[in-house]
Amino acid sequence: MTVADVIGQFLSGLARAGVLFLIAAGLSFIFGVVKIVNFAHGALYMVGAFFTYSFAVTLGVPFWASVPLAAVCVAVIGLAMEVLLFRRVYGRPVADQLLLTFAMVLIIHDLVRLAYGSNLKSVPRPPLLAGAVFLGDIVFPSYYIFIILTGLAVLLGFWAFLHKTRLGKTIRAAVGNREMVACLGKPLPWLFTAAFVAGVFVDGLAGAIGAPLGGIRLGMDFDIIILAFATVIVGGFGSLPGTALAAFIIGEAYAFGIWFMPAIALSLPFIIMAAVLIVRPWGLLGRSGGGEL
């Protein structure tokens, strides 16, 4: 074991953290604003990956155009879902929300099966990012650098949106005090729609960027969504810096867990989650009363 090996393993963990953060960010943001636990988040992530396959492989659109196109298409689906269905269950008991969002998972799965079949699909990495960066003995695939940078951009983008734009500031105000914002004549339902669609857009982006990582298949969402939920819980529901921190901790714990304690590596994220729930039930950077973004 050399220093280069340790750094290599650390970078593996960072890459994993980047993917986790991209998926968990939208989930956390949507919960932070509209207070709904969206089980269909993973399914939409999968749809983002399949759309990227359609654009990049079936239609031959360049990868760099396929990614935003896929994310926008997923956002449009999110818009329809929110306007037609989800906004009817805001403020309803959690069980109602779970039933509706879980029903969406089943519906989306069957639609994907109809459209794409059950066979595995593969999207090649763009030539620019197919290789790796070498630093002495350390090898780091360039695609992961792209993922980590995208993760940072999403984190900064959300922050700038919430703190620097009028819409973002109004959304933050609405999270703090819905009644007051409504009294000021702001169209509350549409603020929530905007926030939901923004969250789903990032979700679709995660699916699109995740597409060339491995295989694309029906059910690829189930495996990752559980980890994404753990990430959001550890970081604190609604806190994006918390989600980023949690993704980093879980990614690294997993990477080094696999190396040194392979027998328990799989359960490490959930051990961390349990520990956080006992010590700080509202998450590492969440707030005990919920509230502010």
Binding site: G8, L11, N119, G214, G215, M220, I258, W259
Partner: protein, 408 residues
């Protein structure tokens, strides 16, 4: 009135022509075969290929006079990669559809459950062509279950026998964290250590079946600098692994021993050349006229190549046909007797069903991956056909394992 008169005349004419066209077969009811496999879920593409081959085989059999002069009718059910659904569907096939035989299943779990709670319970013959846990022929053996696919152990042993001939001394293993992955990796490690006492296993990884990110596994394996890595990942997992391993120069730094069924290879276009691959019997593994004919009819009808699961499914249907013909009846006990010790010349060459455990001594194929412009996936070259007899448990081993199991 005129129209209905025409209709009657037409249908009478149709009936007449049909009855003259089918002199013998129309008189006896068809032999009903229940086909229970995972046509959806994680193994959907495997199950579909298997069922497609059965449909092709049944149509061929019916076109050439059926079995004992009777037509074959398939009742196909989707078991969804779920044990409870598998048992429910198989039961329904037996009790309501009154099928005479069962073919299935795909996932080892479903196959095993159908064997113990339907095939055994209702004394109905089940032949598995894909689901291959050895438990259904060893510890949980029951006399109505037959297996014409190499079991998990046979696959691991075959891969190790060929790998042992390479100069590689240190191995890392990576296998799925469930019965198939653990058993096969175990068989590989045991065999290679026996054949090559100088070989050292420097580490073992057990990722979960749904793993999508293999990066930390890849970097930690490379850090151990093994001569070779043995893997039993397949389909989506293998696709992700290969994609993620390539930028690290993984395949230059270490040799790779991998499951290489066409079904997975179609999903892994990036698979490099020079990997030591093993498979249960692809269309390109045998150069016989039978295999050529089967490949052509299958490809023509379904527009894709018959993967090994189709090859084995096709064999299983014809094994059943041969046994019924040998028994001269479809009566279960007589067909069981006919199957025991039956030698059959199938797509994968000649194999025999061993009476002790009903495992056919089917081969495993091991070779080196190579790109072929004819196909959109890598195939194997310099293939070693490891005969089933060399990789099966010996009869003594089967008895010992059964005794140990009963004691527990």
């Amino acid at each position: 009135m005129i129209r209905s008169g025409w209709c009657t005349a037409l249908s009478i004419a149709a009936l007449l022509s049909m009855s003259t066209a089918m002199p013998v077969m129309a008189q006896q009811p068809p032999i009903k075969i229940g086909v229970a496999g995972d046509l959806s879920g994680a193994a959907a593409s495997i199950g579909q290929a298997w069922a497609d081959a059965l449909k092709l085989g049944a149509d061929e059999i019916n076109a050439s006079g059926g079995i004992l002069g009777r037509k074959v009718a398939l009742s196909i059910r989707d078991t969804e990669f779920k044990v409870d659904v598998g048992v429910r569907e198989a039961k329904d096939l037996v009790l309501r559809e009154k099928v005479n035989f069962l073919l299935g299943g795909i996932s080892s779990g479903v196959s095993l459950a159908t064997s113990t709670s339907v095939s055994k319970e209702y004394k109905i013959i089940q032949i598995s062509a894909v689901g291959n846990t050895h438990r259904q022929t060893v510890e949980l053996f029951q006399r109505y279950f037959f297996q014409v696919v190499p079991n998990t152990f046979m696959e691991g042993r075959a891969a190790a026998m060929v790998a042992a001939k390479q100069p590689w001394k240190t191995y890392y293993t990576i296998g799925y964290d469930y019965e198939f992955g653990r058993m096969q990796a175990g068989a590989f490690v045991d065999t290679i250590k026996k054949l090559r006492p100088d070989v050292k296993i420097v580490g073992q990884h057990w990722p979960p079946v749904g793993e999508t990110d293999y990066t930390p596994y890849i970097t930690s394996m490379l850090a151990a600098k093994p001569d070779a890595v043995y893997s039993n990942l397949f389909e989506a997992g293998l696709g992700g692994f290969v994609k993620q391993a390539l930028p690290y120069g993984f395949f230059q730094k270490t040799k790779f021993v991998s499951f290489a069924d066409v079904s997975s290879m179609m999903a892994v276009p990036e698979m490099p050349e020079g990997v030591l691959g093993y498979t249960r019997g692809e269309f390109y593994c045998e150069n016989t006229p039978e295999m050529k004919k089967f490949t052509e009819s299958f490809h023509q009808r379904y527009k894709y190549y018959p993967v090994s699961y189709a090859v084995m499914g096709y064999d299983s249907l014809y094994v059943l046909k041969r046994a019924i013909e040998k028994a001269g009846t479809i009566e279960t006990e007589a067909v069981v007797k006919a199957l025991e010790g039956l030698t059959y010349e199938g797509l994968r060459g000649k194999f025999t069903i061993r009476p002790l455990d009903h495992q056919a001594d089917v081969p495993e194929y091991v070779g080196w991956t190579v790109k072929d412009p004819k196909y959109p996936f890598v195939i194997l070259k310099d293939i070693v056909r490891v005969p089933g007899a060399q990789i099966m448990f010996t009869e003594d081993e089967v008895r010992q394992m059964r005794a140990a199991f009963t004691k527990k």
